[in-house]
Amino acid sequence: MKLFLIFMGAVVVNNFVLSRFLGICPFLGVSKKIETAFSMGIAVTFVMTLSAMASWLIQNYILIPFGLERFLQIVSFILVIASLVQFVEMVIQKTSPALYQALGIYLPLITTNCAILGLALLIALKEYSLIESLAFGFGAGAGFTLAITMMAGIREELQFGDVPKPLEGAAIALIIAGLMSMAFMGFSGLIAM
């Protein structure tokens, strides 16, 4: 039950994009088409789950035992996540070209995104267990996918809308993001965490 609560909490209540305001750049940059937005979301979910595991291991087996968690957290998380994703990318490219094509350029792009680092730091902060970290990472990714796909859907529809001239392009995208964020505020209190 607790795992489910962590998962749902990461998807809707504390959605990374709309409540924590992490990963805004891909959220605005890659949300012009539903198709690409969804692939981006899948890639983010993949990397988040992976980095949740990696950062938990680093935190609990290297940083805490040596008393380094206060000042080496960020740099070691980034180092580990970036190399791990690079490694996984190579493996995927070799073993499954179809999956590599689907994730495409997004995979290496998001390794150093703030949402990924934010996730790693949050896991350390909340002192989750390994399984809980995985659930949290997967939920965060799913929440990101949900948000970016919705955003892309709205922006696609908006092509046909009558947007006032000064608000065209990035301006209206930011307004939509704000409105979506306000809508997601409605989920707060759904789960007491």
Binding site: I62, G67, L68, L72, V75, M90, V91
Partner: protein
């Protein structure tokens, strides 16, 4: 204590870094994907303009298609011969030798001085837009509208509009990408080999009398050029002379006889045959000359009469000793 923390930090960070470094180095070897090195080489040989004239998405798409055998090695119209030979070298095949650089030529000479307008057009200054408004302002249904759409679409700045609103192609800059051929609503551009010097600058299929009414530089269908051509290269169809570039040797005889200068060329570029001392007097050139410009006896060095020579280069091709040179007159 402080020293200790410092040491542990360095060792653990260095350890993590070294570990992943080694793993990645190993993985890059172990999981290396073999990309055909020829793709990269061909990509470098290509012009890199990504114009899409080859029909593939950009230069790299074309390079991949060549390696997969889908595209011909000389499929890049922009790079022309030089690039085709480079690619052929990379692929280990021969570039087809007949391929020469193609350039766009305009088949109309009706600028605003020689061709009359039949209406005043005040709309969007674009040939395609003008053509849509009842065929545009020009009285000639076939001629250049002169709004410079070709110059606008040319990605290489090879087309300029002169003061009489007629486009001029700079054949040095032209790469034969064909953008203007597609853009011209009256299909006045054609891609022709760069060595071809003679062109019929008219596409009007009206009868001679009607052509004369609307344009002073149009083909009036007199067929003088057809009769004058020594190589049967001038065809006549639909009241219009048309050059068969397979047969044309750029001898410019047709240009001399054309009464309206619809068939045009640059006489400065006319070549003359000159016989060198290599000549053994075999008389082959004398026999092949269509204008009897070569004189001489058997086993004596022959002479070319420069007044008569039309620069057709038939003798040049025929000579078994390579004793004939084609020289451009100064």
């Amino acid at each position: 204590m402080d020293n200790n923390v410092f040491l542990i930090s360095v060792i653990s960070m260095g350890g993590i870094g070294a570990f992943f470094g080694i793993v990645l180095a190993y993985a890059s070897k172990k999981f290396a994907i073999k990309v055909d090195p020829r793709i990269e080489q061909i990509n470098e040989a290509l012009p890199g303009a990504n114009c899409g004239a080859c029909g593939y998405p950009g230069c790299s798409g074309f390079a991949e298609a060549i390696v997969e055998g889908e595209a011909p090695v000389d499929g890049c119209p922009v790079g022309g011969r030089e690039v085709a030979e480079k690619i052929a070298g990379i692929m280990g095949v021969e570039a087809s030798a007949t391929q020469e650089r193609s350039v766009a030529r305009l088949y109309c000479q009706g600028d605003c001085e020689v061709a009359v307008d039949r209406a005043l057009y005040d709309g969007v200054q674009d040939c395609r837009a003008a053509q849509a408004v009842n065929g545009g302002p020009k009285a000639c249904k076939y001629g250049c509208l002169g709004f410079g759409t070709c110059a606008e679409v040319c990605p290489f700045d090879a087309i300029t509009m002169d003061e009489n609103h007629l486009p001029h192609v700079d054949i040095e800059k032209c790469t034969g990408c064909g953008k203007c051929v597609q853009a011209c609503p009256r299909n006045l551009f054609e891609l022709v080999g760069v060595s071809k010097e003679v062109h019929v600058g008219c596409k009007s299929q009206e009868r001679g009398k009607d052509v004369m009414k609307v344009c002073k530089a149009g083909c009036i269908g007199c067929r003088k050029c057809v009769k004058a051509c020594p190589f049967d290269a001038m065809k006549f169809k639909n009241n219009l002379a048309k050059i068969d570039y397979e047969k044309c040797t750029s001898c410019m005889v047709c240009v001399e006889v054309c009464p309206t200068n619809a068939t045009y060329s640059d006489f400065d570029k006319r070549k003359k045959a000159v016989i060198t001392d290599e000549c053994i007097g075999c008389t082959l050139c004398k026999k092949v000359c269509p204008v009897e410009a070569i004189t001489g006896e058997v086993k004596v060095k022959h002479q070319v009469d420069p007044e008569k020579c039309i620069g057709c280069s038939l003798c040049f091709e025929k000579c078994p000793k390579d004793a004939i040179k084609m020289i451009r007159e100064e």
